[in-house]
Amino acid sequence: MAKAPPPEPIDHHYDIRKLTIVFAVTSILVLPAFAWMTWQDYGRDWKSWQKKFIENDRKRTRAALNAASEKIDPEAEEKLLEQKREGARELRRNRTAVSEAEHKARKAEGAWYDSDQDFRFKKAEMDTARYDFETVRKESPKSSSTASSRKSYERLKAAYESSTVVEQAAHAAWDSAKAELAALEKTKKDAEESLTKLDGDYDRFQAKIRTLRQNDAFYFVRNAPIADMLAPSLKIQQVQLEGLYNDVNFLKSQRVDRCVTCHIAAETRGFEDKEKYPESVLRTHPRLDLFVDSNSPHPYATFGCTSCHGGRDRATDFARAGHMPNDFARYEELAGELQQGRDEKGLPTDDDVVKEAMDETQTGRWIKEYDWEVDKFNDLPMYPMKAVEAGCFRCHRTDAGHPKAAKLDQGRKLIEQLGCWSCHKMKGLEDLPRTGPNLTKVASKTTPEWAARWLVNPRAFRNNTKMPRFFYLQNFDTEAGHKLTDTMIAGVTAYLFEKSGKESWPAVAKGDAARGQQLFENVGCQGCHISEVGADRHVMDGWRQHGPNLIGLSQKVSPEWLGAWLKNPKAYNAETRMPNLRLADDEIADLVAYLMSRPAQPEFQRSHAPKADEKERDALVYDYLTQTKSVVEAKADVAKMTPREKDLFVGEKIIGHYGCYACHAIPGFEKAKPIGVELSEWGNKPVHLLDFGFLNLPHTRADWFQQKAGQPRSFDRDKVKSFQEKSRMPQFSLSPAEIEAVETVVLGMQKDDMADALKVKAAGARAAVETGRRIVKDYNCQGCHILEDKGGQIREAMTANKIDLALAPPIIRGEGAKVQSDWLFSFLHAPRSGQIRPWLKVRMPTFPFNPDQLNAITSYFASLDKARYPFEDRVDALDARSRAAGAKTFEALKCAQCHPTSQDAFALAIKAGKTPADLAPILAAAHNRLRYEWIADWIKRPEEWMPGTRMPTNFPKMDDGPGKPEKRISPLAPALDSPAFAGFKRDLVAIWGSEAEAKAYIGDPDRVTKALRDHVWSLGNDFLTVPQAPKRRATTVVASH
């Protein structure tokens, strides 16, 4: 029942007019709010980058288009156009025939379409009937329904088959109609086809420009808010990465990299130019040879971006993606200074002013341009570009070095050589040779006074030492701290010398220092040692600092020890890497005389020798005793102990406290565990677990690490800490560049949580190479030899000593392909001087390699050159004619002028006044040493095996233009007819039977080099002198002629 409306005026609870005004105002306000929201959602930075990239791409394409249009020959084009016009005229002339043909073709197409549809429908019906028939028969094979369904299946099958015939006929009719039409249109079509070919690039670029069009209405509609859900041209670009994960603690989620949404040019060549494309985000990845490119070892589709760079994979916002600037700490420092300056002037705090003034830092610019901030919720931000190679280490930590990542390689070398890995366990950097000398017999090498002074400051003795400084650092920098430090040093020295084995060494004859110097400069010491006061430490490319800097030895060791050491380093230290140079006693006497005369750093001897402070020592002993005993007992013990006992007690505790035994072998600490924190996954360590103390640092892993590596004790600043609690890490005196290098490695120490298929495979040839490189690094082969195109640093010293570089240790290049592995094995096991290059004064020393290492090295060389390993074909029968021809050719080419063919020949050559600079390796032992196949190849193209070799290129390359297979010519062929070669020609004719045969031989570089090889192979080769029945293995050699 409807009620009557109330009488007017209606009484209202509110003032309706006012309410309407409020309604109007809020309704108007809701519109801008909505627009703002839409804009917030729609206006993403990545869209503007994509727009800008499209603009760049268009400019580039336009340039390419112009270039392409210039390339087109206008005459040819005009001709084709004319032909096309002619075709059109022709078509007009035959108008009726053409239209008839067109009509016919349309009709035929219609008929075919109809028959094809019929054919497909029939097939579907037949398939259904077959299925029905099959199921019914399975259920009840004998029933009537089986019979009827069989019937209907067969009927439909027949219909299907007949429809096939109809369809095929219709198609044939259509084809012939089309052919008729094509015949009429031929002239025009041909012209069009040729035009397309001619304008190929031009058309392609034009088509691309069309797709890049940014200013037509369709583009705006496609990318308009909301409408952009259909088919936007600006869109998120992503790649799903199989086997790469985000660790979300309870599960792993697949990585989906969206970086190229902004870095859209990364994969495209042609955007490298920094001038043309100033925004780095729109440039091509700088190393497409290694990354991103689908042909590189790290293709984008497999590895994406974040697996190397770090950062948040799905983010498309600058700060959220985890970009990290290079100079965050510097920015904070500068900003702090500027802020302070404003405070002092009484100006109000103004963040903008600070930012304005921050243009000089990358951080400041990022804040200004991209609203950059630290995303504190991002556990793994990107590596800053200065440490970008950290990403390599995540997977490549098992490699021995990183030749393609210079900074990482440097960091790794620093960690290996300075011994970071000894205290801090690092996966992939384990089981390396000890970094510090063995101290189990230190008392028979040096004096306690020297050791104590050394401990105070190792660099005072040797500026380039790798031993870090443990004492007199900032967290002990008080008077009491100094006394305590001296007490500790005295204790450590006392302990080391008390526990040390004591051996005495035989006396050394008085030698001649000048002769010693000669020896020092010639025999090869300088491959690993320098002897320079004040030299700086070089770890990268510091092969000559592999061993200690040989200065101040007279302060440190006795001549007897030095003599014994040089005679046999293993007698003093069984685990030393110092090789044996097989020096004679008189050589040793001379060397000792020279080395003992080398100068020392002047301040060292004057520096104070620490002595224990009694009060501090008692306190220290008491402190340690209370850890296991009650206060009363500890006090009683302190009172009971003699000063010597106290020193030894303190020494043992301090060695344990600072973990000296991690680098040095020390008696009593054989089983002690290193004291450092494991760093294997430090790159994943949550930042909040790092103690920044009272230091004003940005809270990032990188900044914490830089501080720790540069000033390891600085986190104690302003803290009240007991002796036990104080930081213990020693001072390595790293330069800022070195810190950055080490930081790069340590930041890269992360979990390798990825599918096994993506991990570096440490097996096969790769493993052999890495194991070999490890040994090369540990034994400093590159100090003397240029190996893998690096090292050979002894040449620097030789140049300084004015020694001919022809006397330098050989360059090792293609060694695996060159020498037989079993020869290499025995040579490295026990090298003998004077076999191959007797004129060399520098000696290949005897290294303390064990059989595993020897196998690893031989396998390494073979793997480097992909050569056969371990055994080489044993060629013991040669083609007699080839060998004879080789001998004659060897003579004709005067090979023996440089290459002595036996030790006797070498002696004769020296007698004849030849100098080493004229001589080449003795060939007598070639068949024991070289690979048979390699010899011929070497003779053919020595300049490729070893650029700069003195071996002449007898068979120059023929330049047939690029892309052609290499071909070499024999300049001997035309020379054969010259009178100088008359005898040679006669010999060859005699060997080969006819002049034509002889010419064919001499004109073929392959045959000549093989013949020479056979001759070289036969030199000093006993088993070849007895004629033998051809052996199975030799057949290949014979058959080749």
């Binding site: 209202h12 609870h13 509110y14 929201m37 603690n249 919720f377």
Partner: protein
């Protein structure tokens, strides 16, 4: 300035803050001039002034502008406004009732209006205003999304949603079964029981203070002090490691505060009787158990004869005992808090054998 901030930091420490807010609340409720429009403006101005002053402090700014904490700032103003409004209306009505006039609500309820426009129009406008506020809020303050939860690295401080921060604060003083199960259950049961315990018909349907002073003071104590104040404490004054920080103090994760708390059994046996703790738990905890039995068992009866005689007579036995028990439990919360603050009392009953601690 610094001295003033130091004083405020000191005043904000839990014991003082809770005491002051209790005294302030009860005192204010009886201070008539506050519940006028002028008084309201004064309260509002004080609150706003306090915030403006505080916002000059960088540490306060960090905490107050964290997106999670912004709603609590809003709540502060809303609770303040509605509390003032209720008291304002109550005092108006009290004045009218004193003159023998009916309450304002009586006049209102006699009037009839249409749902449109009087109700629906206002709702529509509210809807629009709320939409604008929500949109702008969501744009200006980004959702505080963090990294995936990691049980190995909990955030510090780990905080409950803001509306549970009062309960989380109770965890400082009680074991989880008490603070997280028993007390919240009793809050709900107690709120449900109110209509059955409070049968006073006066004040039904209209604001009045004078007619239900005791009830209103009790409710406000429970809601404002034990709920809202604890939320504010938990939000703004509890920092890393759940340490207490003054409003202008830097949230230093390394701040150390001693937690030297003792139980009743330790006080009784070791400090008073100077002997070792009995090994049998019942003997050891007997003093605490007796205290609890006295508080929950004997005290209601004693009170019915003395302090609450009036209530006992008015409400009858059943209502009285249910009501007074609920009241005592509510009171137990601040009592335990004060015992902790003043005597470092950890547990009254500490039976670790069964993880039963009060």
């Amino acid at each position: 300035m610094t001295a003033l901030k130091d004083i405020i930091n000191w005043l904000a420490s839990p014991a003082i803050a809770v005491t002051l807010s209790m005294i302030g609340l009860v005192g204010a409720m009886f201070c008539k001039p506050l519940w006028t429009k002028k008084g309201g403006l004064l309260l509002f101005a004080t609150l706003v002034g306090g915030f403006l002053f505080s916002f000059t402090d960088p540490n306060f700014r960090i905490v107050a502008t964290t997106p999670d904490n912004v709603p609590i700032l809003g709540m502060l103003f809303l609770v303040g406004f509605f509390f003032w409004y209720a008291m304002y209306q109550a005092h108006l009505n009290d004045a009218r009732l004193a003159l023998g006039m009916p309450p304002l609500e009586k006049e209102d309820s006699d009037k009839k209006v249409f749902s449109w426009p009087d109700l629906v129009y206002v709702e529509l406008v509210s809807l629009i205003v709320c939409s604008i506020v929500m949109i702008v809020w969501s744009i200006v303050l980004k959702a505080p999304l963090e990294e995936p939860a990691n049980p190995g690295a909990a955030p510090n401080p780990a905080k409950a949603p803001w509306y549970f921060l009062g309960l989380q604060e109770l965890l400082v003083y009680f074991d989880p079964w008490m603070a997280g199960v028993v007390l919240p259950t009793l809050i709900i049961v107690g709120l449900m029981a109110i209509p059955y315990i409070d049968t006073n018909p006066r004040g039904n349907g209209y604001f009045s203070f004078r007619e239900r002073k005791w009830e209103i003071v009790m409710f406000c104590f429970g809601f404002i002090i034990l709920w809202v104040v604890l939320i504010i404490l938990g939000t703004f004054l509890r920092g890393p490691n759940w340490n207490f920080f003054g409003p202008y103090e830097y949230w230093d994760p390394n701040k150390l505060v001693p937690l030297n708390n003792v139980s009743v059994s330790e006080i009784f046996w070791v400090k008073w009787l100077r002997t070792a703790l009995p090994t049998f738990w019942l003997k050891r905890e007997l003093p605490g158990i007796l205290l609890i039995l006295f508080y929950m068992g004997a005290l209601p009866g004693l009170l019915s004869k003395t302090l609450f005689k009036r209530f006992y007579e008015k409400m009858g036995m059943v209502r009285y005992f249910v009501g007074v028990n609920l009241f005592l439990i509510m009171l137990a919360v601040p009592i335990k808090m004060y015992l902790r603050w003043i005597f470092n009392l950890k547990y009254i009953v500490n039976i670790q054998e069964f993880s039963f601690n009060i």
